[in-house]
């Protein structure tokens, strides 16, 4: 099971993901409410995986993803976005994201995706 950092600007989504990932046996090592805080926490915590919201107020998820990848080319980041924004997937994958989940999501599928990315 993995050490996971959750980056999302809404408390509800962070709590939901925390519940889902904990129920799957993962360890939530930190949370961040914006992309810039997420990058700082990545440096500090060095998690196995990051779940990254795309739309955030100060630094969006794509910028945060690029910043994390420049620190660690092996960083595993799964992007998390709302319906209608899935077109960001190409940009995210190009920037180094390992996976993509669309809200609203279902726990078993999310856990399966997390497992696939951690195992890869």
């Amino acid at each position: 099971m993995g050490r996971i950092l959750i980056v999302d600007d809404t408390l509800f989504m962070r709590t939901l993901l925390k519940n889902i990932l904990s129920s799957g046996g993962h360890d939530i090592v930190g949370e961040a409410e914006d992309g810039d805080v997420g990058v700082e926490k990545y440096k500090e915590l060095k998690p196995d995986l990051v779940t990254m919201d795309v739309v955030m107020p100060k630094m969006n998820g794509i910028e945060a993803l690029k910043a994390i990848k420049s620190l660690d080319t092996n960083a595993k980041v799964i992007m998390c976005t709302a319906v209608g924004q899935e077109q960001m997937v190409k940009l995210a994958i190009k920037s180094g994201a390992r996976g993509y989940i669309v809200k609203p999501f279902q726990a078993p599928k999310v856990l399966e995706e997390i497992g696939n990315v951690l195992g890869a």
Binding site: F12, T15, L16, N19, I20, S23, G84, E86, Q87, V89, K90, G99, Y100, I101, V102, K103, P104, F105, Q106, A107, P108, K109, V110, E112, E113
Partner: protein
């Protein structure tokens, strides 16, 4: 004409038989010995290895035939029936599934084929795939845009339930045809839409509960996450049940010990003599 081996159901019994597949229809041999023209077929469903064909008969009657066979034979039958039956049909590109349970299907690609809207479902047919989406399982329909080869194109997005997963598929074709398809599908599924009075009964917390149920959280986890009591959550569940947004899958019991139970526990905890 092609002859294929099948089993045909009649009055609850399955009989080994054959079907002749012709240009204009199929001929069921025993026990029916009947021709069914493709243009009389108004519906097709598949449950595992069984096809259920609904054909219109005399005086607006409908007859249903259940046919079982190996996948290779079913594929032939499905393709022939879907491309020739009595249905709204168009040639289109589709991507199905594009998203499953919120997770993007990474090897999803556009396939060239046909879309047919029958009585109970929408069929996507290509060289390699035959996918049916039951109209009753459609949860959302949207006319939206999707990027393809650096161009933003209009697509119909369909969300539906498949084995408890929410699946998203896309359909792409010329805009005028897409608009006709979208209107057709909206009309076919309009009785599933929520009415204004129903929406008024849902507050923000009810919507949060519905979303947590969608994500797979159980009752206990929802109570903890939203910091609400069992009674408060039960009241929200009642609202969602009344609006038919949820259905009961399990009733848990809360119990307390009887005097006999207390005696058992007391004895069990007594240190051994």
């Amino acid at each position: 004409m092609t002859e294929v081996p099948v089993k045909i159901e009649k009055n609850g019994s399955w009989i080994t038989s054959k079907i002749d597949v012709t240009q204009n229809g199929i001929t069921l041999r025993e026990p029916y010995n009947q021709d069914i023209l493709y243009r009389s077929i108004i519906d097709l469903q598949q449950h595992k290895t069984v096809l259920i064909i609904t054909a219109s008969g005399e005086a607006k009657s409908e007859n249903q035939y259940k046919i079982a066979s190996v996948e290779k034979v079913l594929v032939v039958l499905k393709k022939r029936i879907i491309m020739s039956c009595n249905a709204y049909r168009l040639m289109a590109h589709f991507m199905s599934p594009a998203i499953r349970g919120g997770v993007l299907v990474t090897d999803a690609k556009w396939e060239k084929g046909a879309i047919a809207v029958l009585k109970t479902g929408i069929w996507f047919i290509s060289q390699d795939k035959q996918i049916c989406v039951l109209l009753d399982e459609v949860t959302s329909l949207e006319l939206t845009k999707r990027e393809l080869q650096k161009k933003k194109l209009d697509v119909v997005k369909i969300d539906y339930l498949e084995d408890n997963d929410v699946v998203t598929s896309f359909i792409l074709c010329p805009l005028s045809t897409l608009q006709v398809l979208y209107s057709f599908l909206r009309d076919a599924t309009k009785d599933k839409d929520m009415k204004g009075a129903e929406l008024d009964q849902l507050d923000a917390q009810s919507a949060q509960v519905a979303m947590l149920v969608y994500s797979g959280m159980d009752t206990h986890a929802i109570e903890n996450m939203l910091n609400i009591s069992q009674k408060e959550l039960d009241e929200i569940y009642e609202t969602l049940l009344r609006l038919k947004l949820v259905e009961v899958v399990m009733i848990r019991k809360e119990v307390q010990l009887t005097p006999k139970g207390v005696r058992y526990i007391t004895e069990a905890l007594r240190p051994p003599a």
